[in-house]
């Protein structure tokens, strides 16, 4: 137990070490006047910028707007994508019918949708949330479809032999068997949804948002503020990643990958 903790601490320390070295070198170079701190805000300036941002109500308005928008779009995307994926995985006919279309849609880089969406759904919340939902829905759809397809046929034969009703077959066999794929899809959807949230705010420049906040800071040439915002966005991405990993470990504990 204590050995495991020590090992974990060691791994974390090793992972963080290059970042600390980089920050220190950067700071040293800035102090020595080797780099232009207007172009390359030093770590210390970025740290000070955190203080400025945190005491600025606009920053909190922007962050809240991004989180609400991102959550709404991602939730819609996960819901539609996962349900569609489960259906697609369960029906070979549905796959033959729509997979070519979906593969085409997947091949279109997500930002290609921006001009169309801004006309169809407007460049306000509608366009942004739709954009985020598309970005989140696609990985959720493909992963959950793969999840259903990966359920072994022998398990379905067993449910037939046990004369289980359709609903029980889904509840006890198909859905739990597809769950690793579904959760992988949710994980990707969270990351893509957050990426698309910032992207949407760059491309549809209206309303509050942390992406807009960065663009504003850039207009002012306040690269320290840009740096602080980037760190906040990154921290949220990392939190989403960690949260969905924890969810997977908990819900898939029957796989026993983590030993007690």
């Amino acid at each position: 137990m204590s050995t495991r903790l020590r090992n974990a601490a060691k791994t974390a320390a090793l992972g963080v070490a290059p970042l600390i070295v980089l920050a220190l070198a950067w700071q040293g170079a800035a102090n020595a006047g080797l780099i232009d701190s207007l172009q390359w805000a030093s770590p210390w300036l970025v740290l000070l910028a955190f203080g400025m941002q945190f005491s600025d109500p606009q920053f909190w308005t922007d962050l809240a707007a991004s989180l609400v928008r991102g959550a709404a779009g991602t939730a819609i995307g996960i819901l539609i994508g996962t349900l569609g994926g489960l259906l697609l995985g369960a029906s070979a006919m549905a796959r033959e019918l729509v997979l070519p279309t979906l593969d085409t849609a997947k091949a279109i880089p997500i930002f290609t949708w921006v001009p169309l969406l801004s006309i169809w759904a407007g460049s306000g919340e509608g366009g942004k949330v739709t954009f985020i939902a598309i970005a989140a829905a696609l990985p959720a759809l493909f992963s959950s479809a793969e999840g259903v397809i990966s359920v072994p046929g022998t398990y379905l034969e067993l449910t037939r032999q046990l004369c289980l009703p359709r609903l029980t077959v889904w509840r006890r066999a198909i859905f739990p068997g597809a769950l690793p794929g579904v959760l992988r899809g949710v994980h990707l959807a969270l990351l893509y949804g957050w990426l698309a949230t910032i992207g949407a705010e760059y491309f549809f420049q209206s309303g509050a948002g942390i992406g807009g906040n960065i663009m504003g800071a850039r207009e002012l040439y306040a690269l320290d503020l840009v740096g602080a915002d980037m760190l906040v966005i990154g921290a949220i991405g990392m939190a989403l990643d960690a949260a969905s990993r924890a969810l997977e470990t908990y819900l898939l504990r029957w796989q026993g990958k983590t030993r007690q």
């Binding site: 022998t154 289980l164 066999a173």
Partner: protein
């Protein structure tokens, strides 16, 4: 004797194998009585597993008929349980949940179901493992759980498709002993498919020898050795070698 529990009449079954039709079973006719233990032995490719799948209603014969207790078999029913070669426990359910799954349509109350799961896990010696996940069980324990799941709907006939062939010799022998005990206790008719002649001689009332390509009945031997049987009895050894010679082994 009254009307047979299981009756196969002139059953034929073919498959397409890489585009070519292959006859898996030809003209199989046999009956199994209430509470009887019948073993089908034969080399691989003699259609043993196909035969069980037809009896279970997982597949339909091309010609001929399968009837269970006088009713034609057209789809799976809980009157006929099945133990597969792989234990086929769902890995995301605990042992108790896996066994309980077979009572989903039984209409029993939660407490009755829990009691029956407990009873059947005791029967197969897994009383302490109700809450374990399948990955935590050994191969033999997993197959015991599968036997509990097969028996819990109280089928009139239990089909066993080479249930012990994936286990090590020691575990296999132990489970054969247990199956004999369970069969005597439950009085369920059993049809075992195996390529292990000793297993058949140890467990069965009758041994049906299948010849391959296409699968057909080549001999039927009644086993009159008294139970419980011992693998080193003179009668046991003699019957085993006779069957082995008949199958072309030595």
């Amino acid at each position: 004797m009254t009307s047979p529990l299981l009756k196969l009449e002139a059953v034929t079954k073919g498959f397409l194998q890489s585009g070519r039709p292959v006859q898996a079973l030809r003209d199989i006719s046999i009956t199994v009585g209430e509470g009887e233990f019948v073993a089908f032995v034969g080399a691989s490719g003699c259609g043993k597993s196909t035969l069980l799948r037809l009896i279970a209603g997982l597949e339909a014969p091309d010609t001929g008929s399968v009837a269970l207790a006088g009713t034609p078999v057209t789809k799976p029913s809980l009157a006929c349980g099945m133990i597969f070669q792989d234990h086929r426990l769902l890995p995301w359910l605990t042992v108790a949940q896996n066994v309980d799954l077979a009572m989903e349509t039984s209409g029993l109350s939660k407490t009755e179901r829990r009691e029956r799961v407990r009873e059947h896990l005791e029967l197969v010696g897994l009383g302490k493992f109700a809450g374990a996940f399948p990955r935590q069980l050994s191969g033999g324990m997993a197959q015991r759980a599968a036997i509990a799941r097969g028996l819990i709907p109280r089928p009139r006939l239990l089909l066993l498709d080479e249930p012990f062939s994936a286990l090590d010799a020691l575990t296999r022998t132990r489970l054969q002993n247990e199956l004999q005990r369970i069969w005597a206790h439950e009085k369920t008719a059993m049809v075992l498919v195996t390529h292990d002649i000793e297993e058949a001689v140890f467990l069965a009332d009758r041994i049906v020898v299948l010849a391959p390509h296409p699968g057909r009945i080549s001999a039927i031997h009644g086993v009159t050795l008294p139970r419980p049987r011992h693998r080193d009895d003179a009668g046991f050894v003699a019957l085993r070698s006779a069957l082995l010679h008949g199958l072309g082994g030595d």
